[in-house]
Symmetry: C2
Subunit: 389 residues, 2 copies
Amino acid sequence: MKDFTYYTPTRYLFGRGVEAKTGELTRWMGVKKVLIVYGGGSVIRSGLLDRVKLSLDNEGIEYLEMGGIQPNPVDTPVYDGIKICRDNNIDGLLAVGGGSAIDTAKAIACGVPYEGDFWDFYAGKKIVEEAMPLGVVLTIPAAGSEGSGNSVITKLDGLHKISLRTESALRPKFAIMNPELTFTLPPYQTASGISDMMAHIFERYFSNTPEVEITDRVAEGVLKAIIAEAPRVMAEPENYEARANIMWSGTLAHNGICGTGRQEDWVSHFMEHEISAVYGVTHGAGLAVMFPAWMTFMAQNHPVKVAQFARRVFDIVEADDTIAALKGIEVLKRFYTSIGLPVTFAQLGVENPDIDLLVAKLHENKGETIGGYYRLTAKETSEIYRLAL
Amino acid sequence: MKDFTYYTPTRYLFGRGVEAKTGELTRWMGVKKVLIVYGGGSVIRSGLLDRVKLSLDNEGIEYLEMGGIQPNPVDTPVYDGIKICRDNNIDGLLAVGGGSAIDTAKAIACGVPYEGDFWDFYAGKKIVEEAMPLGVVLTIPAAGSEGSGNSVITKLDGLHKISLRTESALRPKFAIMNPELTFTLPPYQTASGISDMMAHIFERYFSNTPEVEITDRVAEGVLKAIIAEAPRVMAEPENYEARANIMWSGTLAHNGICGTGRQEDWVSHFMEHEISAVYGVTHGAGLAVMFPAWMTFMAQNHPVKVAQFARRVFDIVEADDTIAALKGIEVLKRFYTSIGLPVTFAQLGVENPDIDLLVAKLHENKGETIGGYYRLTAKETSEIYRLAL
């Protein structure tokens, strides 16, 4: 087990109707005037945004709002948001939505008190030392950003999709999680969210750090819960219990508890980021394509942890690691397919991916070799992309 | 799943030599003068206390110290500590040790800013609204108090052993966890700690709240990790990896992650508290006696969750719930016995327990009927104590 720090000071409020506490928690985090950041019109149509504003009004908290944040969020609204905050004495952020709204709000939160270009943090030139406090009302369980210190933003100029990771500077102060708010999520988005949270566990689970039984067992437990609840939530979108289990799983998948004490990987995320930056696909769907491909490469080249996953999560009984891994990958692909997700580029809607371009951008962004579990050259990442054809 | 809040703002620093960061973290929590609370002489003999003081000196933090806290901590040192803090302008606590030192420090932390008798909080007359900041250097993985908002103190007058539970007011601000500090724990204390952490999971796991797959799977995962690592840590007390896995498991067992979204039980703890208050036994050893007895009663009266535990944690294959539960209990008893723990009153060193006295005090402290998973009358708690003979 590696040495680690673990610090997750996010206050979670989970259950029916908890969005009525938004004002109270915004006050609790010491904020008097917030910028509400949200995505499309669904939070308006559902009445959620009005309920959130009413709750802020009840506590005498002022607010401005900025909507229209798109999936795979880009840098331009971040600059707009920073200007709005500076021009209006805003002292906190409130994201209402999923990962895109939250990650945009996080970028604004660290950008406002910083004199330079906020992109410096994403480009790795500066460490985030200060950020405005941020609260979340979660409507899409997927990205896990409500409990993480991370944010992913795409720079439009060059389509660089970059993940910024902080220990705690960008963790939300509170996260309001009402599973009812997820009843109306379309099936493809629900399934993509499930793939996203599983991927967050995989990136931590596939590690060479030995002697991490406790973290492995927790990670396997969260995976088992997701795999058990996923068919229910797809079949009954308004099943509160299934939605609740999936929603909390999405938080545990990414708040760090599945990663303590070990080197993490994240190479499949990096590989998917290039796909969604270039082809605009849904992140979770792209991950459902990338992970079986990455695992198939590993089954041949470094199967041990993929075999453990197959045995412990899918109850594969097979002594040979490569065969066990390959059998597990088949079950995983059937699982993705059963909830309506693609497992190939073609199913993802990318008939002829420009793999040379993806590989070039990947290594330009991340270095000549990449990956924690297995160090991949450009020749090898190219092979993995081809395994997804 | 029940509605819940989850808020665990403890900063964990885990690894070799991390006690050297004590001063830095004490400063981080905003404290200038601490009272160091510790137990017996082992922290002096090992040199740990000196290293902690050096780290405080390096940051210019003043300190006083109060040692001699005994297992099953009582109220008298709490009153002493409150007086020391008030007389010396102390603004924070630092517990160096295990649950007894930490729980005593927690009682002092909430007692100092409170005008009345600190016991009001434990007696349920007052809610803790204010407490001095508290840091922990953990030497005994068992009580999980380093990551919980709880504290258990025994009032000497009448031997009332009472657990105070807070959502976050009494959670430590930081916990320093170096597995090397546990190498010298004697086998019986190591094993009792393992039983204690398993019990913390059991009290949350045995619940009637339906639809908590995610929390069940996490709880089962932590139990599996403990059961896998326990024989290694008993056979090789200086095996860093086994000690590390057990240490982190002890935190996860009790920081709330195994209990989100459901009613908890805690009746076996209450029953054990009476045993250790009257007979002064080691808490974890008492729990190894009580849990199989409680589970055996449940196998006959309400087996469903005990059967799930047997199937998922011990791989028992058996369709009938009562039989599955009973088989699981046999494996659990063999496990306890294998690491040197008692599973009967006699093995615990209590040849002729005064069960009538235990039952009378239990219901005097906790009410006519007790328990979450199954509501027990005095006749039934008496039967469970007898099952432990």
